[in-house]
């Protein structure tokens, strides 16, 4: 190639490079201006003091100290992580029968079974959560039915507490777990399970020793998704747990919009954000290790 030709090629590729920047620019501005900069500002004010709703200049660690050392916030964090873990575990347990049914079903039926799992995802979350309020409320389906049967004198407290939160959260996020585990189960070579049966293993043994280990990537991916979604969940805790409940998202909401203590609300948000990012980072490692192992 002559020098001129190569110079023209270089210039053309440089022009392509500038064109690419212009094409990317609107999307980059969108994410930077509406996510990165606001989140950065949020981190900045989490190190500020406030007084009567006013944010004062100057640097302080007070907000983080009150969150990480105070007993009240320790309880909020502990209960939030606990509830997210319980919801994740409940999703894994409930997802398996459905996922294995879908994976083993003939194609026509599989489509329908899959549809019934995915369709609730298209229904508004506030509406789905409201359904649980009708079922679990003081005068809800369960309490009314039980008192009609004469079993109950006093209504059971099933909502406005962690029971409602966990039941509602499990239902809202269960489809993600089912879809994730189904994907893993469909990929399993059936001959492995047949060999296990031929070698004399019972159904339970085959499930525990063959199916479950092979389904682990789906379980891990689904668990990470559900756990992190539940950590940040707001609709279900607000409606089924109520504002009296100890939950990070509800505490952030109360601090920010009811008590107007933005620095503390943002400090708590930063703790939540770090937790969610850590969960994703751990997942990346887990998946990598699993792929190296398998």
């Amino acid at each position: 190639m002559s020098a001129t030709a190569s110079r023209t090629a270089v210039r053309a590729s440089a022009r392509r490079g500038t064109a690419a920047v212009w094409l990317l620019l609107p999307a980059i501005v969108l994410v930077v201006a509406l996510l990165l900069v606001p989140v950065f500002d949020m981190v900045v004010i989490s190190f500020r003091r406030e007084s009567f709703g006013q944010i004062l200049p100057g640097f302080t660690l007070e907000n983080y100290r009150s969150i990480l050392q105070g007993a009240a916030y320790a309880e909020i964090l502990l209960k939030t992580f606990g509830a997210a873990a319980v919801v994740t575990a409940a999703c894994v347990v409930l997802a398996f029968p459905v996922a294995s049914l879908i994976a083993g079903a003939p194609p026509r039926l599989r489509g329908l079974l899959y549809f019934l799992v995915a369709a609730p995802l298209l229904v508004n979350t506030v509406v789905r959560t409201y359904g649980w309020l009708l079922i679990l409320g003081r005068k809800g389906l369960i309490n009314e039915t039980l008192s009609w049967l004469g079993v109950l004198q006093e209504p059971l407290a099933l909502s406005g507490n962690y029971i409602g939160l966990i039941v509602g959260g499990t239902q809202v996020f269960l489809p993600f777990m089912i879809l994730s585990i189904t994907t893993s189960l469909v990929a399993i070579d059936r001959r492995l399970q047949e060999s296990s049966a031929i070698l004399g293993a019972g159904s339970v043994r085959t499930f525990l020793d063959v199916t479950l280990p092979l389904a682990m990537p789906g379980v891990i991916a689904g668990s990470v998704l559900v756990f992190s979604l539940m950590l940040g969940a707001f609709v279900t805790p607000l409606i089924l747990g109520g504002t009296a409940i100890k939950y990070v998202s509800v505490a952030v909401y109360t601090d920010a919009l009811v008590l107007f203590n933005l620095p503390r609300a943002t400090a708590l948000s930063v703790v939540l954000l770090v937790a969610v990012l850590l969960v994703y980072a751990i997942q990346k490692r887990l998946i990598r290790r699993y792929e190296a192992f398998a």
Binding site: L116, I135, L174
Partner: protein
């Protein structure tokens, strides 16, 4: 997948219970909306459409519903307009490292909880005096739905065949013509499926909308929550039933095209 008979029977029973758990709440909402009493009774009694009429006549839901639909349509359109050039540019990027960084940046609104987006935007819009404006809602929703459209468009863009574009160029088509007649038609499936999910995600979005609005610019899920908080009679059930039916109709429609499978990675 087979196993012994009792094992299979147990599995089918367990799966049926889980399906009941998933779908039951929506059924209860629909049944309650036709009740003729304002409270829950067991066994259910009566049938009436009065709550649907009351919902309509209250005038509390129509404006928010129209606003929610406009918001979903506009934010999806803007996200699509930003996604197409960005995805095409990423396709031409030679450095895989740069591509991974930009892709991560564009998908990051999926990772950050809506609550944090909400509080960060509340603070930002507050300083700009934009709280409780449609522009604030539109900005927040566009950010939230962007990754859904971008991801779907990027998949279509990566499947583009360079030969088609080269052929158009060799045949003398100017870049804009080749974009319109070759590139754009190939992107339609990704664009449509991404747009449908973006639309649904925007309609569903409660948290960000709650944080950036006060009373003027209420969207439908927030209107439902407020009514639930203040009054809580079957009017909420009537409005909710309309949304359940809408969601299921959309599900049937996209199932026809086999797009329901893309739902696995949705979140928030």
């Amino acid at each position: 997948m087979n196993g012994s008979r009792p094992f299979r029977v147990a599995r089918v029973l367990a799966a049926a219970l889980v399906y009941g758990f998933l779908l039951g709440p929506m059924l209860v909402v629909a049944l309650f909306s036709f009740s003729d009493k304002s409270f829950f009774t067991f066994p259910p009694s009566g049938f009436s459409l009065r709550w649907y009429r009351a919902a309509w006549e209250s005038g509390l839901f129509l404006d928010p519903a129209v606003r929610s639909l406009a918001l979903a349509a506009l934010s999806t359109l803007i996200a699509a307009a930003f996604s197409i050039p960005a995805a095409l540019a990423l396709r031409r990027t030679r450095s895989p490292r740069l591509r991974a960084i930009v892709e991560f940046l564009f998908l990051s609104p999926l990772i950050v909880p809506a609550l944090i987006v909400g509080i960060a935007l509340l603070y930002a819009f507050n300083r700009l005096g934009m709280v409780d404006t449609f522009a604030a809602l539109l900005a927040g929703h566009t950010l939230i739905v962007f990754p859904f459209v971008f991801r779907a468009v990027l998949t279509s863009v990566m499947a583009l065949r360079q030969e088609w574009i080269d052929a158009a160029e060799i045949l003398g088509a100017p870049p804009l013509r080749s974009f319109r007649d070759v590139v754009l038609p190939a992107l339609v499936p990704g664009l449509v499926s991404g747009a449908i999910f973006a639309f649904i995600v925007s309609l569903d979005q409660f948290t960000v909308s709650l944080f950036v609005t006060q009373s003027e610019q209420i969207v439908l899920p927030v209107a439902i929550y407020r009514y639930l908080y203040d009054v809580n009679d079957p009017v909420v059930a009537a409005v909710s039933t309309v949304l359940v039916v809408f969601g299921l109709l959309v599900a049937v429609a996209i199932d026809r095209f086999g797009w329901l499978r893309h739902l696995g990675g949705t979140g928030g």
